[in-house]
């Protein structure tokens, strides 16, 4: 195996092995990173990418192998040493303290603890300069708790830059970003690389990998299964290398739309904290049709999802099911009306981590006579239902008695999918259904949604991934600042045109609108 660059690497991972009990998460992994280079780390869920990076950063200690930065071997298990050596890491799950300001989060740990002052003045100047330099606009005094996901990510990167990191590790940085935010991130990365910084980039999105990285290292089951330069490969080949088998993306047939199952008529909802509410939203969901909702995160998608899911009620306007206006609106009412709901965050709202698969499978349906009678649970029925879901939706797990937290994200999502679809809902709310999943799981989930549509359900697909919306939707709406665009038919809009709407232009009351 030859490395492309003859110069001395800035980072060298040598024969890293990490075992968790019986499982070998990293199996003798070696690779080098050179100055000014972006290496993408690819692999299915659970392939061992995060583990490897955690070892490199000192969160975990490897059982075997060494990490060398600029020729120096890092002491294992000491994040401070990695930071001092110039390694910066943007974690898969953000590591920010919500109660502190941006500036405080950035200087945390950079000043000796036993000092009287924080030195905020100089720090603020440095932060401003960095933000300017790298195009990472963010208010240093803002409390992190009030920031959007994209802004938080900028703070994470600024944290690394502030420490003069020479090596930047980004673990799935785009999983929660909009296309625009992702683009801005890539622009920042290019600037950083132009200044000689090296980047390790983890993503499941192959087009991103292709556009940002110079080289790709592919992991499977903890082992390196491929190394390739991006200009010598394509998406298809990478996908195959990851999964070890060929992948075909779903190609939906044209839809045959039916009756309007749900109608929103000039609906408004209250804003909650920093989350935007709906402003005069009118929307029709039709049987046998996938309605795609594109938009930059935080523009009211959450409010719309909560409304349809029964968690909030309109403060103005009407919500109709068929022709009947709903009065008492709650999750129970929504479920009773045959609305199946795939929540945005499978960990936070979709599942209960310590509950078994069985217990999670009936989370919404347990009051039904099938699973309980006059207050008594019928665990036998529940378990056989869980077995059905596991079998029909290909949930890979030891069995229905397994706590769901032991499952990977993809399998967790399949269980939710099964729970939602098994009952044949008339309306399906799919909010970010494939976020963070690997290719295999993505394909599977999307196929199931198409199947539901073909079975006559009205599907609302909310996604920040414009490619996904374009590929699956029969009709598309765009959301911006709580407003909803008109309906666009499949193929009537280019991504660039949609982008204009996403940026908030084109809406009626907008003075810039035509």
């Amino acid at each position: 195996m030859t490395e492309t660059n003859g110069a001395r690497p800035v980072l060298r991972l040598d024969q890293i092995t990490k075992r968790f009990g019986a499982l070998t998460a990293n199996d003798a992994i070696s690779f080098d990173l050179h100055a000014g280079e972006v290496v993408a780390l690819l692999g299915e869920n659970g392939a061992g990418k995060t583990t490897l990076m955690n070892i490199l950063f000192g969160h975990y200690t490897a059982d075997e192998g060494t990490v060398e930065v600029f020729g120096q071997t890092l002491p294992p298990g000491v994040p401070r040493a990695a930071l001092a050596a110039g390694v910066g890491m943007v974690h898969q799950h953000f590591t920010l303290a919500d109660n502190l300001s941006v500036l405080d989060n950035v200087i945390l740990g950079t000043v000796p603890l036993w000092r009287a002052g924080l030195g905020s003045g100089a720090a603020r100047r440095k932060l401003r300069a960095l933000a300017e330099d790298f195009g990472l606009q963010v208010d240093p005094e803002a409390r992190v708790g009030t920031l959007s996901v994209g802004e938080r990510q900028r703070v994470e990167i600024l944290k690394a830059l502030y420490r003069d990191a020479r090596i930047l590790i980004l673990d799935e940085p785009t999983a929660v970003l909009t296309p625009q935010e992702a683009e801005a991130l890539f622009a920042t990365l290019r600037r950083a690389v132009a200044r000689g910084m090296s980047v390790i980039f983890i993503s499941h999105k192959l087009h991103e990998v292709m556009s940002v990285a110079h080289r790709v290292v592919v992991l499977r089951h903890g082992r390196v299964v491929g190394r390739v330069a991006t200009d010598e490969t394509d998406r298809h080949a990478l996908a195959e290398m990851m999964v070890g088998a060929e992948i075909t993306a779903p190609a939906p047939r044209p839809a045959t739309p039916g009756a309007a199952l749900m109608t929103l008529d000039r609906v408004c909802t209250d804003a909650r904290g920093t989350a935007t509410g709906l402003r005069d939203v009118s929307l029709t969901l039709r049987a046998g049709q996938i309605t795609g909702l594109a938009g930059v995160s935080g523009n009211g998608q959450a409010a719309l999802a909560d409304l349809i899911g029964g968690l909030i009620a309109p403060v103005a306007g009407a919500l109709r099911l068929g022709n009947a206006e709903v009065a008492d609106w709650s999750p129970r009412a929504a479920l009773a009306q045959g609305i199946g709901r795939i929540p945005e965050d499978r960990h936070k709202t979709g599942t209960i981590a310590d509950f078994t698969l069985t217990e999670n499978a009936i989370l919404e349906a347990y009051p039904k006579a099938q699973f309980s009678r006059s207050g008594w649970m019928r665990w036998g029925a529940a378990e056989s239902f869980a077995r059905d879901v596991i079998a029909s939706y290909d949930v890979r797990c030891p069995g229905p008695e397994t706590p769901i937290r032991l499952l990977s994200g993809g399998n967790m999502q399949k269980l939710i999918l099964g729970r939602v679809l098994e009952d044949g809902p008339r309306i399906v709310l799919a909010n970010q259904p494939v976020r963070g999943l690997d290719i295999g799981a993505v394909t599977y989930v999307q196929e199931q949604l198409i199947a539901a549509r073909d079975g006559g359900a009205a599907v609302l697909l909310i996604s920040e991934d414009l490619d996904e919306v374009l590929a699956l939707s029969d009709v598309i709406h765009v959301m911006s600042e709580g407003r909803l665009s008109p309906e666009f038919a499949r193929g009537s809009m280019t991504p660039a045109q949609l982008g204009v709407w996403m940026a908030g232009d084109g809406f009626a009351e907008d003075p810039h609108a035509a």
């Binding site: 968690l311 929504a334 929540p343 599942t351 981590a353 509950f355 919404e364 008594w376 649970m377």
Partner: protein, 349 residues
């Protein structure tokens, strides 16, 4: 250092570590006895003797365990739903007060009717005492650790007020103490001549009932779901606020039964020092049992046994009685650590 879960702990580990914890506790106690001028080698024997060495000792241990089972269950039920009820002490007194109000002649009914009424009335009173904080938590987000804690002090002062006012025994020579219950309101003894009463049996029944509720009913399922992830529960359509209120109802009711059982089974009247901290010890009992209702029975027996045994040892070995609480505290702390280490191993990195 870091903790790593052990997938399948060996039997040696499961039994060995708690044994080590207890051994260390006994060694520490022996050392203390030596410091206080007692015989260190007699300590262990005397504790065992005092806790289970005679029919008398054994029944005293069961007796002491009775209120702890109730308060332990109350805490286990609440904590399971992440309702931090630190106010079992107040609820206990609530049950005791209502037992005295109704059981000193106000309801002149035969035992078969009166006792069930007292049980229900006690549970309702305790439940109401916890409903307040639970309501404040669900409606206004007021931290219930603090409200329930403060209610303990208020309840105690309130009881003191009652005992020096309307509930004061006119024949009590002015001592702040209630009238005695009528015989129909007394729980019969389980064993003639010894203090063990039907309250103990009631506690066992309560433990079994809680176990059934938690594992077999929709309410139990809801309570666990709300406790572990209220967001997911709310999304799934579980009425979170209502479940917390129901949990509070059950928890407060159970704690109140401790008061009922102490008054109706043991003391026959109410004084200000009915409970030497049973409400607080209930928290320890519940956590030691990992919030498992059947485990609560075991851990209550353990806690009671250690205390009764050590207390008796202090007299026999002629060392200050405070050694009993030291021993109990050491046993508890080392025991929770040992139980943790049966399931996790310490790895260095």
């Amino acid at each position: 250092m870091r903790l790593e879960a052990i997938p399948a702990p060996t039997l040696t580990r499961t039994l060995g570590l708690p044994a080590v914890a207890l051994t260390l506790t006994v060694i520490a106690a022996s050392g203390l006895a030596l410091v206080a001028g007692g015989d260190p080698f007699a300590v262990l024997g005397l504790i065992v003797q005092g806790a289970v060495g005679s029919k008398f000792a054994l029944l005293e241990t069961l007796n002491r365990a009775t209120p702890l089972i109730f308060t332990g269950l109350a805490v286990a039920v609440a904590f399971r739903a992440k309702l931090w009820n630190i106010g079992a002490e107040a609820q206990l007194y609530g049950g005791a007060v209502i037992t005295v109000v109704l059981g000193t002649g106000f309801l002149p009914w035969p035992a078969g009717v009166l006792l069930p009424v007292l049980v229900i009335a006690s549970m309702l009173t305790g439940a109401l005492l916890l409903l307040g904080p639970a309501y404040l938590k669900t409606r206004l987000g007021v931290d219930e650790v603090v409200t329930t804690l403060l209610l303990n002090f208020i309840a105690l002062l309130f009881v003191s007020m009652l005992l020096e006012g309307p509930l004061k025994d006119p024949m009590g020579m002015g001592w702040p103490k209630s009238e005695r219950l009528i015989p129909e309101a007394r729980l019969p003894r389980l064993v003639d001549g010894l203090r063990l009463h039907w309250g103990f049996a009631l506690a066992l029944i309560a433990a079994a009932a809680v176990w059934v509720i938690q594992t077999r009913t929709t309410l139990g399922y809801e309570m666990r779901a709300v406790g572990q992830n209220p967001d997911a529960a709310r999304f799934a359509g579980i009425p979170v606020g209502a479940v917390i209120l129901k949990t509070a109802f059950l928890s407060g009711g159970l704690a109140a039964l401790a008061g009922f059982s102490e008054v109706a089974g043991l003391k026959g009247s109410l004084t200000l020092d009915l409970s030497p901290g049973f409400g607080y010890t209930g928290i320890i009992v519940a956590m030691l049992a990992l919030l498992n209702p059947l485990g609560v029975v075991v851990s209550a027996l353990f806690v009671a046994g250690v205390f009764v045994g050590a207390d008796s040892m202090s007299r026999a070995a002629d060392v200050p009685t405070y050694i009993a609480d030291i021993l109990l505290a050491l046993a508890l702390l080392s025991m929770v650590l040992a139980i943790l280490l049966t399931r996790f191993r310490v790895v260095r990195d």
